[in-house]
């Protein structure tokens, strides 16, 4: 293990006012390799999204360390960017201006920002929609903007928190294909949180299954399917064997 991103014994308890504390993460360990596509699946509330927030730098763990390049994460940084489940687009900004948000916050001059947004609009397949507002876009297009915005600041790591969960099934399948294409072109490390085992296998180099709350790593599966991945791979015996094995690991953790 290279120690690109490391989580060591990470614990976090939420203490909402007037309610019982919730132990989201309890002794969570993770190692992420540079350039890999790692998916995290786990039961609802197991703290997988919480870990992304910690890695993003928005939330501090109670104990344990999260390191990137051997350095502790102390807050948000331009080496990491998040794609949010509910898109998080600013409704009063056009597609182009939403994509440029991170660059604006870094005080990048306007011409340079425009050059970046033009390139990314093309990359995510939104050419012609630069001047549209989010309410004029479909869910899939909104998430393309979310992805382009995350890529705009050229981070090393993309954190994706159930990015396709709000999309319908067909759009989701299409977005997975698109994400793999963009990942191949942009060469980022991706941490992808999802509920869908199919999605995790299809996209990832490795899939981590988490335990129920307080979440910890239960088992990691290496996905040896060749790349580039074809849609047809989803119906091969290897794929289904993996799916069954991951499901069997996961199902004990799910309290229905």
């Amino acid at each position: 293990m290279t120690g690109y991103i490391q989580g060591r014994n990470v614990s976090l308890t939420f203490r909402p006012p007037n309610r019982a504390p919730v132990r989201a993460l309890g002794g969570f360990d993770i190692d992420v390799e540079e350039g890999e596509f790692l998916s995290i699946v786990g039961p609802s509330g197991c703290g997988k999204s919480t870990f992304l927030s910690i890695l993003l730098g928005l939330v501090k763990p109670d104990s344990g360390d999260v390191l990137m390049h051997g350095k502790k994460i102390g807050g948000p940084g331009s080496d990491r960017a998040m794609v949010f489940q509910e898109f998080g687009l600013l409704p009063w900004r056009t597609v182009a201006h939403n994509i440029e948000l991170g660059l604006e916050l870094k005080r990048v001059p306007a011409e340079k920002r425009r050059a970046v947004s033009e390139r990314l609009v093309a990359l995510v397949g939104l050419a012609g929609f630069e001047q549209h507002y989010p309410h004029e876009l479909s869910g899939g297009m909104k998430q393309r903007v979310g992805l382009a915005r995350a890529l705009a600041t050229d981070p090393e790591v993309l954190l994706m928190d159930e990015p396709f969960a709000a999309l319908d099934a067909q759009t989701r399948d299409l977005m997975q294909v698109e994400l793999l294409r963009i990942w191949r072109e942009a060469k980022k490390t991706v941490l992808f949180v999802t509920h869908q085992i199919d999605e995790a296998i299809y996209l990832s180099d490795r899939v981590m299954v988490m335990s129920k709350r307080p979440g910890r790593a239960k088992r990691i599966f290496a996905i040896k399917l060749p790349r580039p991945r074809e849609y047809e791979m989803r119906v091969t015996p290897e794929f289904n064997d993996l799916k069954l094995e991951i499901w069997n690991t996961l199902k004990d953790e799910i309290a229905a």
Binding site: L101, L105, P134
Partner: protein, 267 residues
């Protein structure tokens, strides 16, 4: 086949179809005025207490020819705009802080609610005593009536800010000031414009009340003086012009709202 024909004819709407809503509204106004004029043919109202559209129109001609109407309106406009500007400048920041800092909100909310709910108009004589019969007294009445919509709406706007957007800006390296500029202020802006629609009406009441109590000029003074003189035609003329101004300002803001926030069209 039949359906197709119908679809084709709806392609280019006629003048009447396009402005149907506006025409219906205008028609109602015209009918109202006609009915008002006509009722005098049936009921013999005492012209000292009641007027009719034709006489009011004649009153307008007098007021415009003498220049009194224009003069009174400009006199009243000064405290109106001063008070309203002060209400925006003080009400909006105060409301934003009340919304963004919960403790400030909890501390000030009861006080503001009491002031808002109380009949501030009843305090007008006192304000005139404190601040005199000039522009400042009237401006303060206008301010005290119109500031509350700005406070409450700005506060509600901040509380409705999407937390996700705050996290987005933070995660991309934005600081506290960026949050205000990129998320909070744009989120609150439509609430402020909505507040302005309410505040304009209250500000007009403020000017009129201020001038009823103590003034020697202004449209409110004109209304009360013509009333005292039983010059009912001119009094109605002045009241109607205030109504027209109120409608124009409120509708103007509504129109500006649609033009300024194209992203709200889908909401």
């Amino acid at each position: 086949m039949a359906e197709q024909t119908i679809l084709e004819t709806t392609g280019a709407p006629s003048f009447a179809a396009r402005y149907r809503n506006v025409l219906l509204g205008a028609l109602a106004v015209v009918l109202f005025l006609a009915a008002w004029q006509a009722i005098f043919l049936v009921v013999p109202f005492n012209p000292l207490f009641m007027s009719k559209p034709s006489l009011i129109a004649a009153g307008y001609v007098d007021l415009i020819e003498s220049g009194d109407l224009f003069n009174d309106l400009t006199v009243s406009a000064v405290p109106f705009f001063l008070g309203l500007c002060a209400a925006v400048l003080i009400g909006v920041p105060l409301g934003i802080v009340m919304g963004w800092r919960p403790r400030v909100g909890y501390a000030l909310d009861p006080l503001m609610t009491v002031f808002y709910a109380s009949p501030l108009v009843a305090l007008a004589p006192l304000l005139v005593i404190f601040f005199g019969v000039g522009v400042s007294g009237k401006a303060i009445i206008v301010f005290s009536l119109s500031v509350f919509p700005f406070i409450f709406n700005a506060c509600a706007g901040v509380r409705a800010v999407d937390r996700l957007l705050i996290n987005v800006v933070r995660s991309l390296g934005g600081g506290e000031w960026d949050l205000y500029r990129k998320v909070i202020f744009p989120s609150v802006l439509p609430y402020i414009v909505a507040a302005a629609r309410i505040a304009v009406g209250r500000a007009l009441i403020g000017v009129l009340v201020g001038e009823f109590f103590a003034a020697s000029e202004g449209i409110g003074f004109a209304i009360s003086r013509f009333g005292d003189l039983f010059a009912i035609d001119k009094m109605f003329a002045c009241i109607l012009i205030v109504m027209v101004i109120a409608v124009v300002l409120t509708e103007g803001i509504r129109w500006a709202e649609r033009a300024a926030f194209p992203w709200r069209a889908g909401q």
